[in-house]
């Protein structure tokens, strides 16, 4: 097969995955052009990453929820409520920030288990069960912030999560460049290249089909360049933010669980065919509990990231987060039919959605038009999904 033919074949088979990256690239290029490069400036990219954080972690959890054919509408106000709980614990109960954070994360898991109980044990449709959660947590958020209004969080360690950056190594060279970020970028690229090469060798040893050499090298170069330029852009400002570190950790852990473990395999099996999974001895109920508990945990994390970013808990924190997370999951390639959707996609989807908001804000586009543009992007993503899915059959 020639290089061109091969490229066409690969593009056709992975069009859904690549489509998302191409869309992100186009959006970024357009905004860079329309804002005279402000969009791609180090400062804006760092802001963009920090704004994406609290939606991205929700989108990761939401992807798994949608994979097992459910939905969770309660995540936005649950995040807002738990952010407020963490703030109250620190400000009024004088808890150390770490204890407050662990407490909120624990409550998040409990909330997720409660949803799972309604869905898996009592058989209530997740749409209805989590709509109740949406109302309930909204009420709870208003209740705990009723007497105080916005709660200012005067805790530097806590506020660093949403606003701080990893420290740099104290060396005198290149004063305006964040060296540790560059080093991490280089390590990341090295790890990626090593991982790809060893994967390829293993595949060849087992006689499985691999990319032709030109394509493989092209892929390595492209992704290395991408990682390198991200590291470069971030290093030019203040380096890697703590939010970015948290999102990366969530991404790595969830991607590992989803693709490399028995638990992940079972989650996708339940999404693909619950009856078959059950007949194979997989407990659909158990998987439902695990997935909703993880969603509750990530909701708490999202609430903490948001409260930390604003350095306060507000009475409306978390409003519409659930819809942003669902949109990000769909842009990221999850399928409403169940069983399909990647964790990496969720992060890219979240980046697409926040890039749109950020870029349009920079261009001072009217908020009403912003909603319409985001609606169009979501609709296009789902139409694209349906269309590519049908031609594959």
């Amino acid at each position: 097969m020639s290089f061109i033919e091969h490229s066409k074949k690969i593009l056709r088979e992975n069009i859904r995955d690549y489509g998302m990256y191409i869309a992100l690239f186009i959006i970024m290029a357009v905004f860079t052009a329309t804002t005279d490069g402000v969009f791609i400036s180090s400062r804006n990219i760092v802001n963009l990453v920090n704004q994406t954080g609290y939606i991205a972690v929700l989108a990761v959890g939401m992807t798994l929820v949608i994979v097992i054919r459910h939905i969770d509408l309660s995540v936005g106000f649950l995040a807002g409520f738990l952010g407020a709980v963490a703030a109250i614990a620190m400000v009024f109960w004088h808890w150390p920030s770490l204890t407050a954070i662990l407490f909120a994360l624990g409550l998040g898991i409990v909330a997720g288990l409660l949803t799972a109980f309604l869905v898996a044990q009592l058989g209530i449709p997740s749409f209805v069960a989590t709509l109740a959660g949406w109302l309930g947590y909204r009420g709870a958020l208003q209740l705990v912030t009723r007497n105080t209004g916005t709660i200012i969080i005067p805790n530097d360690a806590f506020n660093a999560i949403g606003n701080g950056f990893i420290p740099d190594i104290p060396v005198a060279i290149w004063p305006n460049v964040h060296k540790l970020t560059l080093i991490l970028g280089v390590i990341g690229i090295a790890f990626f290249v090593w991982n790809e090469i060893s994967k390829r060798k293993k595949l060849q040893a087992y006689n499985f089909e691999v990319l032709p050499p030109e394509m493989f090298v092209l892929k390595l170069v492209f992704i290395s360049l991408l990682l390198g330029s991200i590291a470069w852009v971030l290093a030019g400002y203040r380096g890697l933010s703590w939010t970015a570190v948290i999102v990366l950790v969530v991404l790595l852990v969830y991607d590992f669980i989803a693709t490399k473990t028995v638990l992940g395999r079972h989650i996708y099996a339940v999404g693909g065919n619950p009856e078959a999974a059950e007949l194979s001895g997989i407990s659909v109920k158990r998987i439902t509990f695990v997935v909703f508990a993880s969603m509750g945990f990530l909701s708490a994390l999202s609430g903490i990231l948001f409260a930390s970013r604003l350095q306060s808990a507000t009475t409306t924190a978390g409003t519409l987060f659930e819809l942003d997370a669902i949109a990000a999951a769909f842009v990221g390639g999850v399928s409403a039919a169940g069983g399909v959707g990647k964790v990496t996609g969720a992060i890219i989807g979240a980046l697409v959605m926040t890039s749109l908001t950020s870029g349009m804000n920079l261009m001072s586009i009217d908020i009403s038009y912003q909603y319409i543009v985001r609606a169009l992007v979501l609709a296009i993503a789902v139409i694209f999904d349906v269309a590519t899915r049908n031609t594959r059959k």
Partner: protein
Amino acid sequence: MESTTQNRPPIVEMRGIKKNFGAVQALRGVDLVLPHNEVLGLVGDNAAGKSTLMKILSGAYTPDEGEIILDGQPVHFSSPLDARRQGIEMVYQDYALANNLDIAANVFLGREAVSFSLGPISVLDYHLMEQETKRLLERLKIRVDSVRQKVERLSGGQRQAVAIARATAFDAKVIIMDEPTAALSVAAISKVLDLIRELKAQGASIIIISHRLEDIYHVGDRMMVLRHGRKVHDAPIEGDIHEFRERAVAYMVGARNDFPVEEVA
């Protein structure tokens, strides 16, 4: 050879199986014997009780009365998983595959090979599962492009082959197939029948439910006919196909009824 087969207890024996669903007497005291390495065809009109009897054998239902003896030992199954662990595999009529996963993942669904575990997290051994699946498919002469193909991209016949391969992957004692040739093209049917012959040649003991009498004729050793929850015929498959078909239909519709039964009150 002859003597070992005779001395050995049958691989499966079901005795006096009764099952009611409310007022419906689905099974009214059915006996079934499956000797080692034989293919038993189970036929009967709609609602005769075939699926119910096999669901009891595969652990999906518990019988109201009667016993199951597996390889000489009385057994009780609490769930399909339990029956599966004791060596009874069922190929369901709708294949029961996860279409979003690849062939190897389906073959090992619920029994994944693990390379190492850390608490509740067990890491999949992809290579072992893919290698084993490749070997299994080769052994059964099932042809697919790659074991990494998603099941949704397979044809109906290939899917049925994967479902059958999956049932044979873990040294099952008995393989039950509920209508394995329903909804398949003629070419796919002959491939599935070849596969059943191949399994038998490799030593499997098989029960097949089918409305296609010619399939039973071509691969079966014995035929058992159920009618209104009772066994009305149980004999080796012999003679030419027309005679066989006439006999089967006569028992199925009740035109012939000469099976020696002790009358149950």
